[in-house]
C-alpha cells in the first residue's frame, strides 16, 4: 500500500476512534448523571410518602391508582404479606410501565414499609423517556458528525499527503526507478521544503555520484589494463618471433622460444577472457542485433564439426523453435560456443550431444546435453567461478569459459541451470527470460 494511503487510513481510523469514544463517554455520563438525579428525587418522595402516611391516604392510593399525592408520574402502594421487620433496602430498576394508557420507561424505586400491622410495597417511578430521547439524539448526532468528519478529513488528508509526498514520489521515480545506468543519472534537485526529502535526495545523489565515479574508474581501469598489459605482450611476442627467424638457432633455443610464445599466448587468453567478463559486467556491449538462436547454433556446429567427428560423437539437433531475441550476436555466439565446446570436450568418445528446446510459460528454454564425465554437486556449485577447472587429462584449460558464459547470460537475462551425474553426463538448461 502506498505511503500516502497508509497515512490517510491512519488519520481516518484515529478520528473514528476519537469521535466514537467521545460519543460513548457523553452517553454514559448523561445517563449516569440523570439517573442519579432521578434516584435522589425518588428517594425524597419516598421519605415524604412514608412520613405523611395515614390510613385514608393508603386507602385512596390502593383504590385509585391515579391518585397522585406526590406530583410524581407513577406511585403504587400494595399491601403484601405481613413481615414484622421489613427490609429497609431500597431497590431501583428501569422498567416499562403503562400509565394513562401510555407505555413509558420509568426509573422505579421499590421499598417496603409497615403501617398499622400491615406491610406495604411502595413503588415510585419517574419517566426517563426524555433521557432516552436525549441519548438517541446524541447517538444520531455522533453518527452524522462521524460521517461528515470522516469524509472531510479523508479528502483533506489525501490531498495534503499527496501534496506533501509528491517530492518523495518524484525522487523515487526519477532517481531510483528510471535510472538504469548510473551514467544517465539526473542530478537536478527535486523541489521540496521538507528537510527529510532534501536529505534523501542529497543522499541518493551523492551515492550515485560515488557509484558513477567507481564505474568510470573501472571502465578506465579496464581500458588501461588492456593497453598496458597487452602492449608489452605484443612487444615480447614480436621480439620472440623475430628471434625465431635467426638462422643459427640451436634446436633447444628454438624449443624454448616456442614454449615462451605459448606461455605468452596463454597470458593473452587469460587477460582477454578477464577483460571480456569485465566489459560484459560493466555493460559495455550493445544489445542491438536480432539474434536467431538456431542460426548461431548451426554456425557453431559447423565450426566444431571436426571436433565432433574426431571424437565420433553423435550429434542430435532437436531444435524445434525459431526463437529470436535482441542481443549482442558476438556475445551469444561466445556463450553458446563455450557450452557446446565443453559438451564436446568433456564428452566420452562415441558419446552423444543433444541440443533441444521448448517453450515453458511463454519463455524459451534451450538444453545442451552431453554423455560425458559429468560433475559432482560440489563441482556444479563452483562451476561458474573464475579459474575453477575440471580435472581433464587431455587438454589444458584456464577455467574461465563458464565464468564468461555466466557473465554473458546475466547480461542477457538468461538463467542457467546445470544438471549432472558423475560419469553419466551434464545438461545445461538456458532459460531466456525475455518474453516471446
Amino acid at each position: 500500500m502506498k505511503l500516502q494511503f497508509k497515512l490517510a487510513l491512519y488519520n481516518t481510523l484515529t478520528k473514528i476512534a476519537v469521535i466514537l469514544f467521545t460519543g460513548l463517554f457523553t452517553l454514559l455520563a448523561i445517563e449516569k448523571l440523570s439517573v442519579n438525579h432521578i434516584e435522589a428525587r425518588l428517594d425524597k418522595s419516598k421519605d415524604m410518602v412514608i412520613r405523611q402516611m395515614s390510613a385514608s391516604e393508603i386507602k385512596n392510593l390502593i383504590d385509585q391508582p391515579d391518585y397522585n399525592i406526590l406530583n410524581q408520574e407513577y406511585v403504587l402502594i400494595k399491601p403484601i404479606a405481613f413481615d414484622p421487620a421489613p427490609t429497609n433496602a431500597i431497590k431501583y430498576r428501569t422498567e416499562q410501565r403503562v400509565v394513562d394508557n401510555n407505555s413509558e420507561i420509568y426509573r422505579i424505586l421499590t421499598a417496603h414499609f409497615n403501617f398499622k400491622n400491615q406491610t406495604y410495597l411502595l413503588e415510585i417511578g419517574e419517566s426517563i423517556e426524555s433521557i432516552e430521547d436525549l441519548k438517541t439524539i446524541i447517538k444520531q448526532f455522533t453518527l452524522v458528525v462521524l460521517i461528515i468528519a470522516l469524509a472531510l478529513t479523508l479528502a483533506s488528508d489525501l490531498i495534503f499527503t499527496k501534496y506533501l509526498l509528491s517530492p518523495f514520489y518524484k525522487i523515487i521515480d526519477r532517481k531510483l526507478i528510471k535510472v538504469n545506468d548510473p551514467l544517465n543519472f539526473d542530478y537536478e534537485k527535486v523541489k521540496t521544503s521538507t528537510q527529510d526529502f532534501n536529505l534523501l535526495d542529497d543522499s541518493i545523489s551523492s551515492l550515485m555520484k560515488k557509484i558513477t565515479d567507481l564505474f568510470l574508474l573501472e571502465k578506465q581501469f579496464i581500458a588501461n589494463v588492456s593497453h598496458e598489459l597487452l602492449t608489452p605482450i605484443s612487444i615480447i611476442s614480436s621480439r620472440l618471433e623475430n628471434l625465431m627467424l635467426q638462422e643459427n638457432l640451436s634446436e633447444e633455443a628454438e624449443n624454448k622460444l616456442f614454449a615462451s610464445l605459448k606461455t605468452l599466448n596463454r597470458l593473452k587468453s587469460i587477460i582477454n577472457s578477464l577483460l571480456l567478463i569485465s566489459k560484459v559486467e560493466n555493460h559495455q556491449f550493445n544489445k542491438t542485433d536480432t539474434v536467431k538462436i538456431s542460426d548461431v547454433l548451426a554456425e557453431i556446429m559447423e565450426e566444431l564439426e571436426d571436433r565432433v567427428e574426431n571424437k565420433k560423437i553423435q550429434f542430435h539437433n532437436r531444435i524445434a523453435y525459431q526463437y529470436s531475441m535482441m542481443a549482442n550476436r558476438a556475445l551469444i555466439h561466445t556463450l553458446l560456443f563455450n557450452i557446446v565446446n565443453n559438451a564436446i570436450k568433456y564428452n566420452a568418445v562415441k558419446g552423444h550431444l543433444v541440443i533441444s528446446d521448448d517453450v515453458v510459460n511463454n519463455t524459451y528454454r534451450l538444453q545442451i546435453a552431453d554423455t560425458g564425465v559429468g560433475m559432482e554437486p560440489e563441482q556444479i556449485e563452483k562451476a561458474f567461478n573464475r579459474f575453477e577447472k575440471l580435472e581433464s587429462d587431455e587438454m589444458e584449460s584456464f577455467g574461465l569459459g563458464l565464468a564468461i558464459v555466466k557473465s554473458i547470460a546475466t547480461f542477457h537475462n538468461i538463467s542457467i541451470d546445470i544438471q549432472s551425474n558423475r560419469g553419466k553426463g551434464t545438461t545445461f538448461t538456458l532459460t531466456f527470460n525475455s518474453k516471446i
Partner: protein
C-alpha cells in the same frame, strides 16, 4: 612495397619493422598523429599499420582525415590493444581494410597483408605454385597437375597459411588462432590442429611425397621450399 607504421610504442614498431624489412618491405615510422599526417600527406603507401591509441589523438580521427584524401589506395590495417568487438566493427566501417588486435603474431600480420594485396590488386596469377601443387586462393581450391584435391575449409586454410609463411616454423597456437580466429578458450587446446594437418598431409601425399611438409617436434609445422 612500402609500409608506414603508426605506432607510439617504439620497441613494437621496431620489431614489426625488422620482420617486414626481412620480407622485403620498405618501412617508415610515425609515433604521433602529427608526424603520421605529415607523412601521409606527402607519400603514398601500400600499407598503413595504424595503432588506435596514439599519444596526441585517437587513431580513428587519423583514419577519418586520411579517408578524405582524394585518389588514395593505401590499405589501412588497424592494430590495437583495445580489442573490443565494437571497435573492430567501428574500424572496418570507418574504412580500414583489416583489424588486428594486439598481441598479434607477425606471421598473421603478413598473411593479412598478402590477402589484402591480392584483393586490392586482383593479381593476375591468383595461384601459388608449390612443388607441383597449385593453390588457387580465390576459389580456395588445390590442384596437382590437373587433378583437384578435395580439402576441407580448415585444411585449405592451414595449407594456405603455411605456404604464405613458407620456410618458417609456424606454431600450433599460431595456426589455431589463424584458422579458428580468436575464439576465447579454444586456443587452449591447440593440439587439435594436428588432426587436420594429419588429414591434409594424407591427402597431399597421394600425389607426391611431401617430405617438404615438415613437423617440427613439439612446436609446429614448416613448409620448406
Amino acid at each position: 612495397m612500402n609500409v608506414l607504421i603508426v605506432e607510439d610504442e617504439k620497441s613494437l614498431a621496431l620489431e614489426i619493422d625488422e620482420f617486414l624489412s626481412r620480407e622485403g618491405f620498405t618501412v617508415e615510422h610515425a609515433r604521433t598523429r602529427r608526424s603520421a599526417e605529415e607523412k601521409i600527406f606527402v607519400n603514398n603507401y601500400d600499407f598503413i599499420l595504424l595503432d588506435l591509441g596514439l599519444p596526441d589523438s585517437d587513431g580513428f580521427d587519423l583514419l577519418k582525415v586520411f579517408k578524405k584524401l582524394p585518389d588514395r589506395d593505401d590499405a589501412v590495417i588497424i592494430l590495437t590493444a583495445r580489442g573490443a568487438i565494437d571497435d573492430r566493427i567501428h574500424g572496418l566501417e570507418a574504412g580500414a581494410d583489416d583489424y588486428l588486435p594486439k598481441p598479434f603474431s607477425l606471421n598473421e600480420l603478413l598473411a593479412r597483408i598478402h590477402a589484402i594485396t591480392r584483393r586490392k590488386h586482383k593479381l593476375d596469377s591468383n595461384e601459388i605454385n608449390i612443388k607441383g601443387y597449385r593453390i588457387n586462393i580465390q576459389n580456395r581450391t588445390v590442384y596437382y597437375n590437373e587433378e583437384r584435391i578435395n580439402l576441407t575449409k580448415k585444411e585449405f586454410e592451414i595449407f594456405n597459411y603455411l605456404v604464405l609463411n613458407k620456410n618458417r616454423v609456424i606454431s600450433r597456437t599460431n595456426l589455431t588462432e589463424h584458422v579458428w580466429g580468436d575464439v576465447l578458450e579454444i586456443n587452449s587446446d591447440s593440439n587439435f590442429v594436428d588432426v587436420h594437418v594429419k588429414n591434409l598431409r594424407k591427402k597431399l601425399s597421394q600425389f607426391a611425397p611431401v617430405d617438404w611438409f615438415e613437423t617440427v617436434r613439439s612446436i609446429g609445422y614448416r613448409i620448406n621450399i
